[in-house]
Structure formats: structure tokens, C-alpha cells
Point group: C2
Chain length 269, copies 2
């Protein structure tokens, strides 16, 4: 399947042929965009949503003091703000890092898909929950991890997500990021990022290029950063079918659970 968006969703949620067909037609409107272009700007009120089918992009905010804070990296298959129409204004900007293939979807189409296709509903929620989990992991990192582990952890995050999509080989093992980009991601100074990268280079984990980072040994990097990919929710959910496994619960918990279920059923006339 050539459509990375569908591939990403299908890896997590069981999509049937109809689902795939719906998604295919929904993402038919495609455009090629150069690198360094803003797809959406903070404060905008866009009329449609973007999906990165190919290339890298990032979500960022400009701060009052002129600084920039990068909040997320978008890789092939990632949707940007599929439900942003619910908000009055875009809370952040989105910019391409490399040339990208971008699909456009009208917001009403998204709503429609979520309403009529339960699997797509699940997939959209899986997606936003994972976005949130990544943000939480970043927040934990900025507050607590040492700068070298933090940068290493960040690299693990992006490359693990790439791997899960089957994009784990060269030339995709190269991230097109300047050291300033990394600094704006990690909340470090440009100069300190350089020193951190030098250390990771000396450990033979990565290769530092002009406006780019190449990972030589993701496994070692993971160990160094104590990276646990659990938060990315990459394992296929056992519960996707909707059948709850009640048998594993303690008696007390099961009793409460059944009470809640009963309560719920009673309300359905």
C-alpha cells in the first residue's frame, strides 16, 4: 500500500476493505510542497486538514521573545490537526522540513468518517492519544532527563516511529534537522546541543552531518537513553475488537465493573 496514512492506521486498528476505500478516496486530493514551507500558521482558521503522506514536518510555536519551540515532529502517515476546526484558532504553526507530499481533507469529511466507520473512529482516537503520550514523554524529558539522554531519547522516538512504518532503512535514517532545530526542541542552547551531539558521535551512536543527523546504532542509542517505546502504543491493541476481558479482574473490581455496565445498559431504552 503506497498511502502511508492508511498504512499507519492499519497497523494499529483492524481496517476492512470499506474503511480502506473510504480513507483512500478521502486522501485523494494531494499536493507536492517544498521544504521550509508553513502549511498552517498559528492563529489561522484553516478550512481543511493536512496529512503528511511523505516527508518530514514539524509543529512549532513562536514565543513572545522571538524564540521558537518545536512541539512535535510529523513523519509520513501523520495527520496534522484532523479536528482543528473545533477550535477557533490554530494553536500552533506547521512547517515542512523537507519536500513533502501532503493530502488535504475537509473537516466535515473527517467527522463523517468517524461517525460511520467505527474502526476509523478508533484509529483517530488512537492517533490523538499517541500524540498526547509523545508530548507527555517530551515534558518528562525536559524536566528530568540530562541533556544528552534527552536528545538521544528524542532521536529514538522519531526513528522508532519511522521503523514501525517500515521506513527504518537508509536514507530514512537521516533526520534533516539543524542543531538549532534540535535546540528549539529540547529547550537547550544551540551550543550545548553541539556538545551533546559530539558526545553521541564519539560514542559511535550517530553521525553528525550538515543540517542532518544519521543514526548508526539505534539499539545502543535506546539503551543509552533508557528508551521504552511503550508510550508509542505500537503493539496491536488486544482490545480493539471491543470485547473487554473481564476475567483478569479482581472480584471487587469486576463487581464494580458489572454494576457500571448494567447502569449503562439500563439507559439504553
Amino acid at each position: 500500500m503506497s498511502n502511508s496514512f492508511i498504512r499507519k492506521l492499519a497497523l494499529r486498528v483492524p481496517l476492512n476493505e470499506v474503511d480502506i476505500d473510504v480513507l483512500k478516496t478521502a486522501t485523494r486530493m494531494v499536493e507536492r510542497v517544498k521544504g521550509g514551507v508553513d502549511l498552517v500558521n498559528e492563529g489561522d482558521h484553516p478550512q481543511y486538514s493536512h496529512i503528511i503522506l511523505d516527508g518530514f514536518a514539524c509543529r512549532y510555536r513562536i514565543l513572545p521573545d522571538g524564540g521558537r519551540s518545536i512541539l512535535a515532529y510529523l513523519i509520513p502517515g501523520d495527520g496534522c490537526d484532523l479536528h482543528a476546526s473545533i477550535l477557533n484558532r490554530m494553536p500552533h504553526s506547521i512547517s515542512t522540513l523537507t519536500p513533502c507530499t501532503v493530502a488535504y481533507i475537509g473537516y466535515s469529511k473527517v467527522k463523517e468518517m468517524a461517525a460511520y466507520r467505527p474502526n476509523i473512529y478508533l484509529a483517530l482516537w488512537w492517533s490523538i492519544l499517541t500524540d498526547e503520550a509523545i508530548l507527555q514523554e517530551m515534558l518528562v524529558g525536559v524536566g528530568r532527563r540530562s541533556p544528552d539522554k534527552q536528545v538521544a531519547h528524542f532521536l529514538c522516538d522519531v526513528f522508532t516511529r519511522l521503523q514501525a512504518l517500515g521506513l527504518g532503512q537508509a536514507p530514512n535514517f537521516r533526520l534533516p534537522l539543524s542543531q538549532s532545530d534540535l535546540a528549539d526542541t529540547a529547550g537547550l542552547s544551540r551550543i550545548h546541543v553541539y556538545r551533546v551531539l559530539s558526545k553521541l558521535r564519539d560514542l559511535n551512536f550517530i553521525k553528525v552531518r550538515h543540517k542532518g543527523i544519521e543514526v548508526l546504532d539505534l539499539e545502543k542509542l535506546r539503551k543509552f537513553a533508557a528508551f521504552d517505546c511503550g508510550y508509542l502504543n505500537l503493539d496491536n491493541a488486544r482490545k480493539m475488537t471491543g470485547v473487554d476481558d473481564v476475567s483478569r479482574l479482581s472480584d471487587a473490581t469486576r463487581a464494580k465493573y458489572e454494576q457500571i455496565m448494567e447502569e449503562g445498559n439500563r439507559n439504553e431504552k
Copy 2:
């Protein structure tokens, strides 16, 4: 309306009587919980979701080194992880800070409401998008803001959300947080938090109590922290009705927009 969950949603999304009725019965199963109790633990696979109807709670993670990182504060009306069943494991724990009134909802009930009640669908998305925005704002803060402004900004966040719910008066203007709690939130040391709070106290912005902080002048605090409440999405969305305002767009954008809309309609048989 005594149900803070419904009140919170109704402030953002136009709910009709049926919506309110559905939400009321869905949150009928209520329990009183003491302070300092874990509602959910990281790694759990809970069978139902929690909603804080009254009291304060927080979302946190325990780190490998034993440290704790507080990721969010939950105030009356906040749901915890309404869609967590989609994930295999809980990515964080949730703990009450004060005695709380908690409602329980089965996950299938949530899905059902989202499927059959468009307004509730919107409300749930509004909710998660706002959660995400708050996380982003925290991330920006940890990386960039000075410690005193960051703590001030955090206080503005919680108290502004309380105000929006009509809980802006004493005794609710008191947050039951120890200085260690604040430290685990801001990613600062306990001792430095004390110094920051002392400064804010000397400026007459707050009163520092034992295991608690009282805000004396939220307006001054906002100015000090350069707090812009835009990210909380508190203004009623103009677009909630689903009618897109195309007239404000540039010609080029409108053309593309209409193309996308047409594309979308063509796919509906």
C-alpha cells in the same frame, strides 16, 4: 446544574436537553474518594473511565530514578482518559489531591455517546484538544520560561480554568499543593520552588500556606507571567454549528477549499 462535567461541556458546545439527559444518566454512578488516593495506576488496564465531579486530582508518572513528574491537574468537570480503553496500558497514574467526588463511565458508553450524539462528539474532541494544548503550553514553559514566570503561569492556568467554571471564589482560590508537588510539576527543585514562591508572595500575588497556595491577585499574576488564555479555548467556538465561514478566505484558498469540498461530496454516494 450541579454536575460540573456537564457544566464544563455545556460552556463550550451547545448541548440540547437530550444530550444533557444522556450525560446525566451516564454519570449517575458516583463515589466519594479520599485525598491522596490513586484512581488509576500506570500499566493498569482499567475497565471504566473516571470523571472528577468535585475536588482536585492530578495525572503523574513515576520515573526510573524514583522521581515523579506531574503532567496535569484535574479540576471539577475534568474527565480522566475517557478513551483509555483504546490503549493497551494506562500510560500514567491518576491520584486525588483532595477528597473527590468521582463518576464512573464504562468505555462502551463513551463510544456510544460519541456515535449517537454529535454535540457530545464535539465536546469530547474539544476536551482532548484542550488537554493537548495545556500540555504544549507546559512544554513551552519548561523549556523557555524563567522559573518564577513558569510557576506563575501554571497558577494562572489552573485558576483560569476554575474561573471559567464559576469556581473562581474562595475557598476555591486555594490550591492544595505542597511545594514538592509544584517542584514535580515545574521540573524544579523543592528548594527553588520555595524561593520562587517567596518572590511571588513578596510581590503580593499569592499567599503561601502549609500545603496550599492562595491567589490574591490573579490579574497581576497574569500580567507577570505574560499569560494568554487563548490556548485554553474558552471562547465559545463560532464554528460549532458546523457552518464554515468561507467568505473571509483569499480567492486562492477558497478555490482550493471548494475543490476539497467537492471531492468530499463526490465520494458520498
